[in-house]
Subunit: 870 residues, 2 copies
């Protein structure tokens, strides 16, 4: 087994084995670039070390010796040699980037003997002792686990004794003394002298890096970023080069293109006479790369030349670290640079124009989910901000406004011309007008599919839900955060719906811009994707926006949201409170023309495209007030007794409303509701059609769990349609949601009665897991932290569970009806991993919020490309 | 195709084709018994007629003619002949018994001509005209759909004109006039004369019987009794014989054994000079069969001889109809007689002793579910009763007592020595003491698995739940039923938990008796069954009872019920309200010894048998009060502020508690709870074992949906066990509930970490269907009525949905661990159809309420026998 790879033995495809850093250093070496030489110990050795009781594979020591010898020969220096000492850095580097999470040791190999060689070679005693004291400090801290403060105390003491402020004001003798004092710290804290033998130093440093794989910081980072299944970190041992050897030395970082906007300009920073850590520490202000052209034109030219070479080689924008040692340029790292969504789009299209990438390759370079940044107004990333709490990023975008604590106040403040943030423990249908009036919504309870979250996403409004760090004190019109910040009514806060951050005060906003490049990329995506992309849109306005974003139809139009508006909810309540069929019919007759008008406008907006309209789904109590005060108000306005209304509300109360009397179950007991809705759909379609619009209505029945439900309801829907038989010159399709496990398991029975299936993965996830999204905020965070779940199943389809049921449904459904059209309209329809899964199991379309349509188009294309490559 | 079978062409196994009646008449004919001859039109003709627009198969008419001819030859009479007329009955008869639901026409073939022949042959003019007027009335009503009242009016008019009271007081001339008046009714109501042609009469009668298959009555009956998949009714056309031809004629019914208690004695009724309908009508009081011995000893001997023959032939107790026409005995029907559970057991064991049945055959003769009648105190079936409302039969048995409306009153009344019925809208954990004190529980809401239902079943107490016909007016301490009956506090009512009937006043009770025969039958069952039968038992008392009923272990011991008792719930609340781990640990330390004592006593009761203990399952808010008043009381008693307690209660509130923070999810966030419980189990087992008891503890973790939950919790459980390693000299197994779809779908991942699976089909049904049992009472009745569901999935496993997931779980689980032990502990574990399903998919055991253990033992045996026969 090869445990160690000298740089000339590896390549860029060995990230799993050599880590990103090791693989890219090997690749640059192979390209003939100036790289300080070295070798990389594999991630497998790390895994062995950590799992086998901190021991090494048998032949490891021999390979280490061999590679060290090769490095000495290559560098023309000898490790631990007092005349011509080799110094090395020891760095971590896993397959996935985990910046700053693991340990690094620089200047390793210095002791009281080798420093003489260093002084002789560099003719720079101050530099040598500065390196020495830095090394003892770093090694003591990182390898020997001594608190940094102990070293800092000595430094402060000596500075104070000498009456100086900056490190750089210390003399060579001061530094010498500091080395000795630092070693005293080590002796005192560990009970042992500082290890002077460079070989011991190296072994201890390697072990420290291995152990740092499992430190708390690294574990947390991997969990947060969903990094799983890696073996460990590789360790790269590399000759030191020094950017701090005077005015012809320096160090810098360089992006080959602008990572903010993607423009093809050099973007980087550079410090003369400095080491890498000085750039990071931020003590001195770095220069732009242009400065380098002036002070070291040849080095600059070489840098430009090589960065072009690297970009062509990697066929992507590079993030490069370099050091100049006495006018000689060295490359210490290159990797594909992180970038904003905006930049990703620009760079991908530019690289295609430059002939470096095919369109398909370019599509794969863009993180579909990151497009969210472009598609909503977003906060200026450069602005300072004070985050006072963090909740669930329930609806993306950002909002700034004055805090209010109830819906009526929101409306009033909005009418006064102010921007408004509505803060509630949770929202209910009674808050709809207030949500409309608000720029953003913050709730202290509820999950990603809570009322607030769903409605806000539907409205395209920013929302942070389940922010348990906030305690809402409605009575005193204020909220208090975990850190004790008190925010009163009228105070200004900013919400970042994409990160869940609640920020005190105003943060500047950047408007979304869909540039020409973005449109071009989406065009390429449309050429290769197999999945159709539709939108979930409940209003003509949503439909219009969806179409602008490229939706090929409406996959889910939720009719109930139409009932929440002021005038309508009154009629809806009249219907619910009716004592008999006659009373219900009377109220429904009032609702019919309202629904019809909505449907007609939607059909007009979606001229030529299918519109899937879901019949009433939520339980009736959602349309009634919950609190006694509101019940009293409603009773008053309807002219009925409080007790009677209260009793009705109580009798409609459900223990588990999610599993209650809703969806098609309502239609079985109250057939007149769906009859009214179907009539409204048909009449709207007839009128729109008569006006020259090409209508494609699709009627969708929710919550089917049993084929007989569909049999009965389909017949009832068809009966209404047949009443208009002579006036209909278009197709009307009748299909069903698939959103409870039983529907999946009996899909072969259901399919012959359904013109289409549409997966409602929100409810399917809740039932499959037995997990209410409104209640799971209490334990989901811990589940994610402990990696019980790798991702919240409300965000990305749980493929092992929910996905297994979806596969069963697709197989059973198509076993009965081979060409059955199947889509998805749950929240997952706009999430890239879920979209890939939908592609792979053969769905026909995904449907998502209008704002996610472009994301879905790109993700569908990526899924298609990836599947074809397999 | 043969559409019609003459009696000598069929046999008893052709019930599907000839109906029960037709098949048995054929069988009796083949046995050479005196049966008035005839023929049977098949159920397939009925199906054809009803589905093909009321038309007949092509060759039907010819076959009808041929069979009629054969019947004439056989009877020596001619249909429609004025000299020697053949009269026939036309009767319905489906494969399943549907007594009184479909139509029958007697005396068919009379008209003004044939009656002369009838008079001549019988020399009884009065009899002949009485038959004629009965025929016109019956035909007019049944075939021509004329309201019976129109005929009754004529009868009343003539009786009043003649000044008589009884029909029998009318003269021959009166009857003649009545025939004419009845025909006038037919002319008036149908606009056509009465059909005089016997062939027309026959065709019309056959069609009427066919149509009666789909009348409302019959449809409802089939739905209620779960009769599905039949083609239709057969029609039997049979020579009339007359029991009303004088003192040497008569008619009767005979059970070959007593259907109430199963004793081998004749049991029947008999009327001299009467037709069958007179017995049914109840105008005259029938004689016992003994009377027949006195008046017609030869006929009696023949009857005894033939009934023995029939019982031997059918190898079961028979329900026989016979008619004596002028001293000649005829058999009109025989069938296996309906019987009580008690009689079923007695008859089955007697038939085995008599050598008529094998033990296996005897086992199949007993309806396992009916044993419920024996296993709970039950109401005297012969007592009069006034049913004022009907709800869900949530927990079987019966109870009589005074009505109270809250738990405290129940306790007080019980202490005063009274029997108590607790009436609530719904019950909650706060009512436990009141439920304990009550003899029966009645709730107006909630389903078969509501709190009231589950707790009552656990306590073995009678409960009627979801009785929506009752409106509880807690404030005025009364309830009002749908029919307006008002029941006040202190009034006596009787509950029948097996039927759901609420009865006003006291009904006499019969104590359960498990007779020697019953024990013998269960012994046979134990010999053949493959499924082990365990019990769900939460207390030592339950465990004792379960063992008496033959349970082979405890399959589910719900630890939470132990927490609801007075002293304990206070400590439980202290634990829940603790602000930190320390406070929780302090409260848990108090609970530990209590749980330990319970477990120890259960281990002692179940010496040598496995005890599966489920760790805490319900959400924490179930242990806190819900109403402000109760919260205030608790706050006072705990010495904390109302607002603080109220906030805690609010913060624990869940939108869908069934899908919330419960089961293993609680243990992930509060590991100390399970740690305490495991410690209690282990210490209890160690102490019991030290006392010489053979303990077999099994620890069960609820609500696993994800293998990582089990991985973490199993390790934590094991850690506690390992602390006692040296003191443990028995096995402790650790398994999991399978109760959400995701657990089924990932059973192959879960199995390697589970020593056993136990299906929690209550929750699995709710999640698979997306159906909360607490809320479904609003629509399930309609679902059953409209045959959307054939049975409430809470009662019998939904095999197409829930069953499909169970199969997946068994297959996947055993694919990973071939010998995995799998059981079921949901409510379905005691339901015979579900038990058969469990046997067929290869489960190892079922676990059910102690009272259902004998039922499960028998059902398991039946499943085993049936499967072996296939």
């Amino acid at each position: 087994m090869q445990h160690i790879y000298f740089f000339d033995e590896g390549n860029k495809d060995q990230k799993e084995l050599l880590g990103g850093k090791g693989a890219n250093l090997a690749e640059m070496t192979n390209l003939g670039l100036p790289v300080p030489q070295g070798f990389t110990i594999t991630t497998e050795v790390c895994h062995y070390y950590l799992s086998q009781n901190h021991s090494y594979p048998q032949d490891f020591d021999g390979q280490l010796e061999t590679n060290l010898l090769k490095l000495e020969q290559n560098a023309g220096k000898i490790f631990g040699d007092p005349e011509n000492p080799l110094l090395v850095s020891v760095r971590s580097g896993a397959a996935a980037s985990m910046p700053g999470m693991m340990d690094t040791i620089l200047n390793l190999g210095i002791n009281d003997q080798t420093i003489q060689g260093l002084i002789n070679k560099t003719e720079n005693e101050r530099f040598a002792y500065d390196a020495y004291r830095r090394f003892v400090n770093m090694f003591g801290n990182v390898v020997l686990d001594i608190n940094h403060e102990h070293f800092e105390e000595q430094m402060e003491a000596i500075k104070s004794a000498r009456g100086v402020v900056l490190d750089t004001q210390l003399t060579v003798n001061d530094l010498k003394e500091l080395v000795s004092l630092y070693k005293g710290v080590v002796q005192k804290e560990t009970g042992k002298p500082f290890p002077d033998n460079p070989s011991d130093q190296l072994k201890l440093a390697i072990e420290a890096v291995f152990k740092s794989w499992n430190n708390d910081r690294a574990n947390t980072y991997r969990k947060i970023h969903g990094i799983y299944g890696l073996k460990g970190t590789a360790v790269t041992v590399q000759s030191m080069v020094f950017g701090n050897m005077g005015e012809t030395s320096g160090t810098g970082v360089l992006f080959t293109r602008n990572p903010s906007n993607g423009e093809k300009v050099l973007y980087g920073e550079f410090l003369i006479n400095a080491q890498g850590e000085d750039v990071v520490a931020g003590i001195r202000t770095p220069e732009t790369i242009d400065t380098l052209r002036q002070v070291m034109p040849e080095v600059y030219d070489q840098l430009i030349d090589i960065k072009d070479k690297l970009e062509k080689h990697y066929r992507d924008m590079q993030d490069i670290e370099f050091t100049i040692e006495e006018s000689k340029l060295y490359f210490l790292q290159t990797r594909n640079g992180k970038r904003t969504a905006h930049a990703a789009v620009k760079i991908a299209t530019d690289l295609v124009r430059e002939g470096l990438l095919t369109k398909e390759e370019a599509l794969l370079k863009i993180d579909a989910n990151s497009l969210n940044q472009i598609l909503h107004p977003h906060l200026d990333a450069t602005a300072a901000k004070k985050v006072i709490a963090t909740g669930l990023p329930a609806s993306p975008g950002a909002a700034v406004g004055k805090v209010v604590f109830n819906a009526d106040d929101a409306v009033a403040l909005k009418e006064a011309g102010e921007n408004v943030i509505l803060v509630r423990k949770e929202t209910s249908p009674e808050d709809i007008h207030g949500m409309h009036a608000s720029n953003g919504i913050l709730t202290s309870t509820g999950g990603m599919t809570s009322h607030a979250a769903v409605v806000a996403r539907g409205m395209g409004k920013c929302c942070i839900a389940g922010c348990s760090e906030v305690v809402v004190d409605k009575k005193h019109r204020k909220f208090i955060t975990k850190d004790g910040t008190e925010v009163k009514e009228g105070d200004i806060i900013t919400l970042n719906g994409s990160t869940g951050e609640v920020i005190l005060g105003l943060v500047r906003m950047v408007e979304p811009a869909v540039s020409g490049d973005f449109l071009e990329v989406l065009g390429w995506a449309d050429e290769v994707r197999k999945l159709q992309v539709r939108a979930n849109a409940d209003t003509p306005e949503d439909a219009k926006r969806a179409r602008e974003f490229g939706a090929e139809g409406i996959g889910l139009c939720r009719t109930e949201h139409m009932f929440f508006e002021d005038e309508r909810i009154a009629v809806m309540r009249e219907m619910i409170l009716a004592q008999n069929l006659e009373g219900r019919a009377r109220a429904l007759a009032k609702l019919m023309p309202m629904q019809k008008q909505d449907f007609k406008r939607i059909f007009i907006e979606m001229d030529g495209l299918p519109v899937t309209i879901r019949l009433l789904d939520p339980p009736l109590h959602e349309f009634l007030p919950f609190y006694d005060k509101k019940i009293a108000e409603l009773a008053e306005s309807m002219g009925i007794e409080f007790e009677i209304l209260k009793n009705t509300v109580d009798s409609l109360h459900e223990v588990n409303p999610m599993l209650g009397h809703r969806g098609c179950r309502l239609a079985i007991t109250y057939p007149e509701i769906y009859q009214m809705q179907v009539q409204a759909i048909v009449e709207a379609a007839i009128e729109a059609s008569a006006a020259g619009v090409k209508v494609k209505p699709e009627i969708e029945i929710p919550l089917i769990g049993n084929v007989k439900e569909l049999e009965i309801l389909r017949a009832e829907v068809q009966e209404v349609i047949d009443e208009f038989k002579n006036a209909i010159n278009f197709d009307i399709r009748i299909g069903t949601m698939i959103e409870v496990p039983r529907a999946c398991l009996t899909a072969d029975e259901i399919a012959p009665l359904a013109d289409f299936f549409s997966f409602g993965t929100n409810d399917l996830t809740q039932t499959t897991y037995g997990l209410s999204r409104d209640d799971s905020a209490k334990f989901i965070p811990q589940y994610l932290e402990r990696a019980i779940m790798l991702v919240d199943p409300a965000e990305s389809i749980d493929q092992a569970g929910v996905g297994a049921l979806m596969k069963i449904a697709v197989e059973k459904g198509r076993s009965a009806v081979p060409n059955l059209e199947i889509g998805i309209c749950g929240e997952h329809g706009g999430e890239p991993h879920s979209i890939e899964f939908c592609h792979n199991i053969g769905l026909n379309y995904v449907s998502c919020s209008p704002y996610r349509v472009p994301i879905a188009r790109l993700a569908a294309a990526q899924a298609s490309i990836k599947a074809a490559r397999k």
